[in-house]
Symmetry: C2
Subunit: 612 residues, 2 copies
């Protein structure tokens, strides 16, 4: 199936996107306007992104001492993207937006992620501006966010430091009030920042007039000490070039300097940088430090940043998904045209017969079906997550709160599951290509390299797993997990009405019961031991099982919709085949993962350090 | 543990390598001479290979129109390797060899694979020469094999063609008798070859005086037709430069031309080439075609080539293993020195406390222990395979024949299991490094890229799986599988004598029973259906389960030796931790794989083509 068809099925037949047009905010929209957006996105991605995906990989960003050099195609791709209005698609009409549901914005962005995941860093620009729309002052919104939506500025998120990647409590960037009048600055309380930020995507380039950094830093206490822990973190806007209250550049370069470009395994279309804040490379307004404007209250930085991080995590999940999808498409096309070998059995062994296309081989079909089940399943999950964002923003209050909480529980899965399994899909795409897949003459090796990042950035697999087992399944008295369980049970009930789906419904019910039991058993170990060490020791296997349970639910739910059309539609047959694949080949894997969780297995923590 | 210590444990404590010195062929050897070889290998690998592993990756081979350009370090590494005598380590004293057991030769080569898997293509040179020692004429041995062992020539294996990778019956390279006197050629019946060979490793370079290609081609029948199928294949020696009967170059360039270098994802220290045979680029001796000398009888080519392929498959397994080992070492070192975060629980959460090295985190320990279990387990398996080669060559007749057959069954696992799981180990090594692992400032991303080749070359995963389930477990009336089962039962019995190992012994016994049952059930489907299609549809999941069963056996067997020293030795504790990890985290995975095999699951073959 073409991506467009898969999207339309998921949006309209499965997620009832048209229901959103009955909400006041989206009342001007219709299936036709939604489709027009998809069509625009598909066209720009095809014309301006896809043809240059290999180029941005081989023509890695470089720094000439003054400026970052990127291929010309990157500029043109960004211009076309900004000109399409997609940067502000979900924003109010009043500020030039389209008031599109987030679901549609997400669906439109899949085309770009599939065409070239690394050309655009637009996801960070939107996330950055969305954070300011939620938590910034009115002037911060008009000066910084609106100019991100209209394409003049780009945005970053600056959390990690060289000594503190996953451990934000150890952030050492300092922000001190800039003069006695620091609070009277119209753009927000003005500070001077000094420190180093690592792994900053799109941290420096010439793609736009300005770069708006959102920076986590600590305000020293009265004795000049930084408050330990994440409670000491505050959030600051630090523009590369200073601007006035109208958003015009003042001509002053702020003291944010590129300290180095990271040379990565993949995802090379976007710069990834080490930035020095306030090191004196660009002294500004006669004092030391980069100028930054505080957003929100002191000490509230991490909470605000999570607004952006949660969005980014879902976007990473979608990026991983679309890389998986791209590899699936490429290897499917190859498998249909590449002749090789003959089928087993007497007739097939006749070497005088012509060779068959490799898609005729059972094992190649297995590798294709696995990719399809991984990528389309992950796509459904991520679109469901986007649909929950809409529910949270424009749904009725009770449903909106449920959606918020359900999203909290699903976010670690929406991020981690595609990162792991669509990477596996990309490896299978290489395998389908045989030796050719290992060369740079075919696109699949790049997809695989690009995708390897997704288990690392925006919170590693380990961080996601701790978040899921350590926090999300227990937050608000476990109500998020209960909501998810209720949804799963509802799918099980609906599936039980169809004879063909009944065995899978029973299988899912039992599997989810196992997940719930393991969750309880895992936390019983914490009571026994008086510490969560043993519980969290197997957080990753737990997340893997939980994720497979969620995806089995997604596929069964998709199947309840697809089964009605199965007789006439090959697309529906494909979806049912994925469901069958997932229940036969994938879901049975959870037993091995949950066993160590339930038993509080201490194998890994027991090994003496010297025994490694 | 340093590799050297692990090797010594496996060689002497586990595989009783010293027993080999009691055989006439190795009577001059002792543990001391063995260790001297290991020491030499370790030193050359450290000095001449390891420092250049990144260089050969970034300075990819290129062709200037005349010659292939490789980094200077590649020449020096090869010279040092050849000068060490390792190319002929296992050969007779009479031809300059050391009469070293194959086990020791394999162990010595691990250092090079770990230091830089792609600098040397020595494995192919040895394999090529070994084939000639087994099947070539006396003159072919002295002219081609001896000059490979002494370092003057290098060797290749030329099987695949652009239209025939995994399907050798479709080889289209033609070999026609060269003149009426073609049979009187002292170097072997002389033919003219025309065709294209793809994926030829070390297919062109200037590293040695000459390159000896071993080429599969078809001799046309009386009507000029090629015999379909593999029965039509014959084997030919095709040197790049022609030589006289004394092995001296005659000054005539043979018509073997480099048609192109493949630009690969990794493994870039070795050229990988498309070669044109007899296309007229280098016309030779006034007729068309590249000159080649037949080895063995017409039509016997594939059987002879398997001599080299089996060796190459085990060598690939070892290469994959050592990449896994290299990543394990690198990430272990990093995990010990990189501070990040604090332990869970009240005390750990105190942000004023210093950060801990990441090896303190349970999930990092899990990733390290998994790597250790994969890489050291695979190393043990591959050394066991090498030990079986020795048994086959120098053991008493009955044991030698058992060793031959056991090796037949284990070869697909020795090749496929490390290719899959040591690749996973490399991915975990990246994950332990976090963002740094995704940059080219650390070696682990290259290990991961290099390792991705191993599931493809020398027979893909799918080919290995068909070989295992379709042929090896049934050959000679299933006696190979029975031999393996007997070995496993013997380990189970020995392990049952130790209280600490009893539960694992029972677990292995049951797991292996499942593998045996699934084998039978799989073949019952062939009887039901009258064709092996359904049986072989799940050959890869079968091989995955079989492989995990074999590795559980290896680890339990290692544990029976290690457990005696567990009280005093941290190395022994590490081995027991790996065994525990493997039985708790890995072996339970086989259930999901075997289920589809036993049920003859047809999900993948049932999908209509249009439904993908």
């Amino acid at each position: 199936m073409a991506l467009r068809d898969t999207l339309e099925f998921l949006l309209y037949d499965w997620l009832d996107a048209e229901a959103l047009t009955r909400r006041p905010r989206h009342a001007d929209h219709s299936r036709e306007t939604f489709n027009a957006v998809l069509e625009t996105a598909e066209r720009i991605a095809r014309e301006k992104f896809a043809p240059f995906n290999r180029l941005v990989d081989s023509d890695e960003p470089r720094f000439d001492g003054e400026k970052v050099i990127l291929p010309r195609a990157t500029y043109e791709a960004r211009e076309a993207y900004a000109a399409s209005g997609l940067l502000s698609a979900a924003q109010d009409y009043a500020i030039g937006g389209m008031q599109l549901p987030f679901l549609l914005e997400s669906a439109a962005n899949t085309f770009f992620a599939k065409a070239s995941v690394s050309i655009g860093a637009n996801m960070l620009t939107s996330g950055n501006a969305n954070l300011l729309m939620a938590h910034g002052s009115a002037l911060q919104q008009t000066v910084f966010a609106h100019n991100a939506f209209n394409g003049r500025f780009t945005g970053t998120m600056c959390l990690s430091e060289p000594q503190a990647g996953s451990s934000l409590s150890d952030v050492a960037t300092r922000a001190t009030p800039d003069g006695e009048d620091y609070e009277s600055e119209p753009l927000g309380p003005r500070y001077r920042l000094r420190g180093h930020k690592m792994w900053i995507s799109a941290g420096d380039h010439e793609l736009a007039e300005n770069i708006v950094h959102l920076v986590l830093a600590k305000i020293p206490d009265a004795r000049g000490q930084l408050v330990p822990g994440v409670k000491g973190l505050s959030l600051f806007i630090v523009p590369k070039h200073l601007v006035d209250v109208h958003g015009q550049l003042t001509g002053e370069r702020n003291d944010v300097a590129l300290a180095g470009l990271n040379h990565k395994l993949g995802w090379r279309g976007t710069t990834n940088t080490l930035l020095n804040f306030g090191e004196g490379r660009y002294p500004v307004r006669g004092a030391a430090g980069a100028i930054g404007y505080r957003v929100g209250a002191p000490g509230d930085g991490l909470r605000l940043m999570f607004h952006m991080m949660n969005e980014a995590r879902i976007a990473i999940g979608m990026a991983a998904t679309m890389l998986g999808y791209a590899g699936y498409e490429a290897s499917l096309e190859y498998a249909k045209v590449r002749p090789q070998g003959r089928l087993p059995g007497a007739a097939g062994k006749n070497a005088a017969m012509p060779q068959v296309p490799i898609i005729a081989h059972a094992d190649v079909r297995r590798m294709l079906l696995a990719q399809k089940a991984y990528a389309e399943g992950a796509l459904a999950l991520n679109l469901l997550a986007a649909r929950l964002v809409d529910e949270q923003h424009t749904g009725a209050p009770a449903g909106a709160d449920d959606a918020r909480l359900l999203l909290e529980v699903l976010t670690p899965i929406a991020k981690s599951w595609p990162s792991e399994w669509c990477l596996e899909a990309n490896s299978l795409a290489i395998q389908v290509h045989g030796g050719y897949g290992y060369t740079r003459d075919f696109p699949v090796e790049q997809y695989w390299r690009d995708n390897r990042l997704n288990m690392i950035h925006e919170g590693t697999h380990g961080i996601q797993a701790n978040d899921l087992l350590g926090r999300k399944v227990r937050m608000e008295g476990g109500r998020g997990l209960q909501l998810l369980t209720a949804r799963i049970q509802s799918t099980v009930r609906r599936a039980s009405d169809h004879a063909a789906l009944q065995p899978w419904a029973r299988q899912l019910e039992q599997a989810w019961q196992q997940v719930l039991q393991a969750t309880e058993q895992a936390w019983q170990w914490a009571q026994v031991e008086g510490s969560p060490t043993r519980t969290l020791a197997n957080a990753v296997p737990y997340m893997q099982a939980f994720g497979h349970g969620v995806l089995a639910w997604i596929w069964l739910d998709v199947a309840t919709v697809a089964q009605a059309a199965a007789a006439q539609s090959t697309a529906a047959q494909g979806r049912l085949a994925c469901t069958r694949y997932f229940f036969h080949y994938e879901l049975p894997k959870i037993g091995a993962w949950l066993q160590v969780v339930a038993q509080g297995d201490t194998t890994c923590i027991d090994v003496p350090l010297e025994a490694f």
